[in-house]
Symmetry: C2
Subunit: 276 residues, 2 copies
Amino acid sequence: MPDDVPQQSAFDAATAVHPGADGVATAVLDPGWDVGGGVLNGGYLLSVAARAALLASPHPHPVALSASYLRAAAAGPATLTATPGPAGRTLAHTAVLLADATGPALSVQVTTATLGADAPEVALPVPAGVTPVEGCLSIAGHAHLAPPGVTVPGLTRQVETRLDPLTAGWVLGTPGEEPVLRAWVRFADEREPDPLALVTFADALPPTSWALGRFGWAPTVQLQVLVRALPAPGWCLVEARAGEIAGGWLDEDYRIWDSTGRLVAQSRQLARAPRG
Amino acid sequence: MPDDVPQQSAFDAATAVHPGADGVATAVLDPGWDVGGGVLNGGYLLSVAARAALLASPHPHPVALSASYLRAAAAGPATLTATPGPAGRTLAHTAVLLADATGPALSVQVTTATLGADAPEVALPVPAGVTPVEGCLSIAGHAHLAPPGVTVPGLTRQVETRLDPLTAGWVLGTPGEEPVLRAWVRFADEREPDPLALVTFADALPPTSWALGRFGWAPTVQLQVLVRALPAPGWCLVEARAGEIAGGWLDEDYRIWDSTGRLVAQSRQLARAPRG
């Protein structure tokens, strides 16, 4: 391919949606964005749904997305039915239902708007003491250290994830006492971040319970993502924290800063807690 | 009324829903739960929607709710159309659309489950240094100090709200520098808290920007509430914090603890920021 024809990034290819009749778009869900066992990552699926919402919206950026994960979506052909709601100069609402060959898998409410270059009046700073990216641990590079029974997910090959060693004791067999994970992330092909990328990054880390040495899959039940600003190029810093693990439930609270230290996204999800 | 006939609480009366045909329930939205200017409180509306979801669910408790506020709902008759989704032994999904006489106002995804008496394995503790309820400021008792142009909302008469003086400088004309509000809350008629009450409490404080002396209404765009446990009787402690105020947008992040200090609910909303 000649140098002057930009190649589509893996993320853009894997989240592409194609407009269809009556507000029903189509996509092909990519098996390469799984979290193990063929289960597609929830943030990846939400980015696909966000693209379908943008097709139906007068605004270019998803700023709030709330998704109910009805069941695991299978890789392969999918339909995305977008139902526009009220739309105005400031924001627009759209509902999106993602269905695979078996039926509905993900129901999403998307608010779109137009993000600008406004400096924040108030913004949470980057946590103190974060390890610079060059001092962090590559998850992909430590795949041979994966906990027993945990397959290395495709997601970690798509999203380069560098764990802050301060929250990565579990990788080396010495789990910590706080359900917190912190990592620098970017796409492996160095596609720069944008609001759609932040939607994937907002669910891209392993379950925070892994920090405690409790491994296993933590299926997302409901996920809300807020995109607060257009991210600058470069690595994003992601911090995920569980506020409570109880009765088989776990929440995960994400904050994402861009390479300039600006808070650019937040998310919270309710998930089922891994056993054990 | 004889002593042995319990009177229905104001909250239970104001959030009552009546089953109808084809999954369409009815309610009468109570003008007494406004946040000023006749605008009904978002948490109150979400509790009404939660009741409609429970009618359609095999489980008794809302554990995750995500709502898009399409436009302000008017007091008076409303319909609630519940569409059941997948339901199992652990959880069930239901979509609820609340419409007033004009049309759809609130679109909600509700996950229901059965909360038990599980002790948490991990839970965020009550913040250090919280002022005991007897040392806090009653919002209703300071109504005469309401900022210029701010009408005293009905909500403050329904939900007794005692502001921690450490975050209440704005009440006395000396705003702080952090967008944080903390208060003890309970229903004015002392109805005890339950999951439905927590849904209202998760949006019951004034906008956190008031802590900075920026008064005005901050309309909710999207709100997610997680209910994590059955709350013990008594006052609940609510802390609300904005992570970022930028470009006309504001997030509000709530944590709610019950009278035993157990984290019982969390919420996050994206709202429009009051103009400076």
